[in-house]
């Protein structure tokens, strides 16, 4: 029996000819990631277990992004703990605030060219599944797994079965990767892909830019998925050429394709032309509705995060805000996902567009997405957010509400002062 794309990557890293779903394997890792929340507990485990040094200083990536720039003394201590470890271990991929490559982990790893097709990556952050967009296998783990992986360079996996998601057609105007993944999560539920891979395929994939694909794979976890993965095509190769031409030219990557007779537990077809502008109402990402059917007043809009803080996202938002203004009484917080995105937006005048529109612009941070800082909600407040979770209390008070949306809906909502689409604007 044939293998899925994910299974091929796992087999290759386990030194096996083939693997089957359900099989437990030990696999070598190409990159191991941690952030300022998950790494400090991992460092404690790392030291407690008597590990001396990381398995490879070039294959461990540590990113301060969750509570940074630090919101209080305790979070400053966490970041300091990680910073000291990074210095002590001489970690190459540590991204200090203000450095060119800094920002939100899942924005900067692809944009800095350190995740490649065929790579096997784990990260102590659930949204590590983002890198499937470039044809890698990547998945989230906890701090103890991170500690053991930093020490040994390997970890165990249960080989997942896969759901094949066949994308056909071309997305309608303003429909983004966010709408597509919310639509899928709405179809299958928050546990619809539990323990499984989501393998995206079909001619519709060609209409999706790398930034759109990154958004889609980022939220595979929100339907329980172990990973999401896209085939490697001209969009992938163009992106690699831009982010790491040396590695691309050296051919130090493998473009896996699924076998024709690979087995899938389910095949889901989505005609992209029929996917509406979609929002997820509180308190689950699967509680989706067409945005046009929702009429709710709001207090705040957040534009950014590892889901929607990339250049294309910021550019799209700016185009909607150009010549328009945030509704009086509404706060709109724009958070470019990385220093590079921030700088490009500055150079292209996009930050001025936001400023003119009455948005506030933040340095890159996860910040409000997880209720950390930079936009926490009070009781009874409602936020339209381009982030990834709308759980109870996710962005603040337990009686606050988060409505998940793509960039065009979020920007239009800020201007309208209620859930709206760009078609509702004059």
């Amino acid at each position: 029996m044939g293998m899925t794309m994910t299974q091929k990557i796992l087999a290759a890293h386990a030194g096996l000819q083939s693997v089957k779903s359900g099989e437990l394997i030990e696999a070598k890792l190409d990159l191991v990631l941690g952030n300022d929340v998950t790494t400090p507990p991992a460092i404690k485990v790392f030291k407690d277990m008597g590990a001396g040094s990381v398995f490879d200083k070039d294959k461990v990536c540590l990113v301060p992004d969750h509570f940074t720039p630090n919101k209080d003394i305790k979070s400053a201590e966490l970041t300091k703990c990680m910073r000291c470890f990074a210095r002590e271990q001489n970690i190459s991929h540590y991204y200090e605030l203000g450095q060119k490559g800094m920002g939100i982990e899942h924005v900067i790893l692809p944009d800095n060219g350190i995740v490649f097709p065929g790579d096997l990556i784990i990260g102590a952050d659930s949204h590590t599944c983002t890198y499937g967009a470039v044809g890698a296998f990547s998945t989230g783990v906890g701090s103890t797994d991170l500690a053991c992986a930093m020490a040994s360079g390997s970890t165990w996996f249960k080989v997942p079965e896969a759901i094949k998601v066949v994308l056909t057609g071309k997305p309608s105007e303003y429909v983004t990767g966010k709408d597509i993944i919310l639509h899928l999560i709405g179809m299958i539920g928050v546990d619809g892909a539990l323990y499984k891979s989501l393998e995206f395929t079909g001619e519709g994939t060609h209409y999706l830019s790398m930034d759109q694909r990154l958004t889609i794979c980022n939220m595979a976890i929100e339907c329980g998925g172990k990973n999401g993965i896209f085939p490697i095509d001209e969009v992938t190769l163009e992106y690699m050429e831009k982010t790491n031409p040396d590695r691309l030219r050296n051919g130090k990557y493998v473009a896996y394709t699924p076998d024709e007779d690979a087995e899938y537990s389910e095949v889901i077809e989505i005609d992209l032309s029929s996917v509406p502008l979609t929002v997820a109402l509180p308190h689950l990402p699967s509680n989706t509705r067409p945005a046009s059917e929702v009429d709710l007043p709001i207090d705040q809009v957040v534009i950014g995060s590892c889901t929607n803080g990339r250049y294309e996202d910021i550019k799209t938002a700016a185009e909607i805000f150009r010549g328009r203004h945030v509704k009086e009484g509404i706060r709109c917080i724009v958070i470019p996902g990385s220093q590079r995105v921030y700088r490009r937006a500055l150079d292209e005048g996009l930050l001025a567009v936001f400023d003119d529109a009455g948005c506030v612009i933040s340095t890159p941070t996860c910040g409000p997405c997880l209720g950390g800082h930079m936009g926490i909600l009070a009781a009874g407040e409602r936020c339209v957010s381009t982030t990834n979770r709308n759980f109870v209390g996710r962005m603040g008070h337990v009686e606050s509400e988060v409505i998940l949306a793509g960039i065009p809906v979020a920007a239009a909502s800020a201007i309208a002062g209620k859930v709206a689409t760009p078609f509702d604007l004059e």
């Binding site: 001396g52 509570f67 783990v141 053991c148 209720g371």
Partner: protein, 168 residues
């Protein structure tokens, strides 16, 4: 090994944000985390839970964020076992890794009610609802997972595999 305790019952899709909200993640100390366990879904949990009590929930327990602080907080609160219909995969790994006992059993998840007294045997996988007299059988762990549990968690397992502490 057997555990016995009063049941705290929850629904499907209990996420790690409600188990331990991110505003408390500035500490990874179990003694701090346990003070806020389940705070956003069951504010009275911390004052009611007693050592040995058992948590029972529906599908997809522990979904969302990969924060290991979630199983750590539950374990530190005194909970001796979490029974669910199934677990989100990162939570499943984290629970095994930090030594929080978990059992997958859809029937028990449905049949057991808030406040029931339940006994569970880790060796046989038999769950007994003493209040109703019903018994359930949990899905057995794969051998490899059992080995990690028997070693006392992933750290001990990794150490054993590499021939002891030292340069791993």
């Amino acid at each position: 090994m057997k555990v016995k305790g009063n049941v705290f019952k929850y629904n499907d899709n209990v996420d790690t944000d409600v188990i331990i909200p991110a505003r408390h993640l500035t500490s990874a100390d179990p003694e701090q985390l346990k003070l806020h366990c389940m705070e956003d879904i069951d504010p009275s949990f911390v004052s009611k839970v007693q050592s040995g009590d058992i948590m029972v929930a529906g599908k997809n327990f522990g979904c969302g964020s990969s924060r290991e602080h979630a199983p750590v907080a539950i374990k530190a609160s005194g909970i001796s076992l979490v029974i669910a219909s199934d677990f989100a995969r990162i939570f499943y790994r984290n629970a095994i890794n930090v030594g929080l006992p978990i059992m997958e059993c859809p029937e028990a998840s449905e049949g057991i009610m808030q406040g029931d007294v339940v006994e569970a045997d880790f060796d046989t996988g038999i769950i007994t609802d003493i209040t109703t007299g019903k018994t359930y059988s949990a899905k057995p762990f794969p051998d490899f997972i059992k080995k990690i549990i028997d070693c006392g968690g992933l750290v001990a397992y990794t150490k054993e595999k590499s021939g002891g502490a030292g340069d791993i």
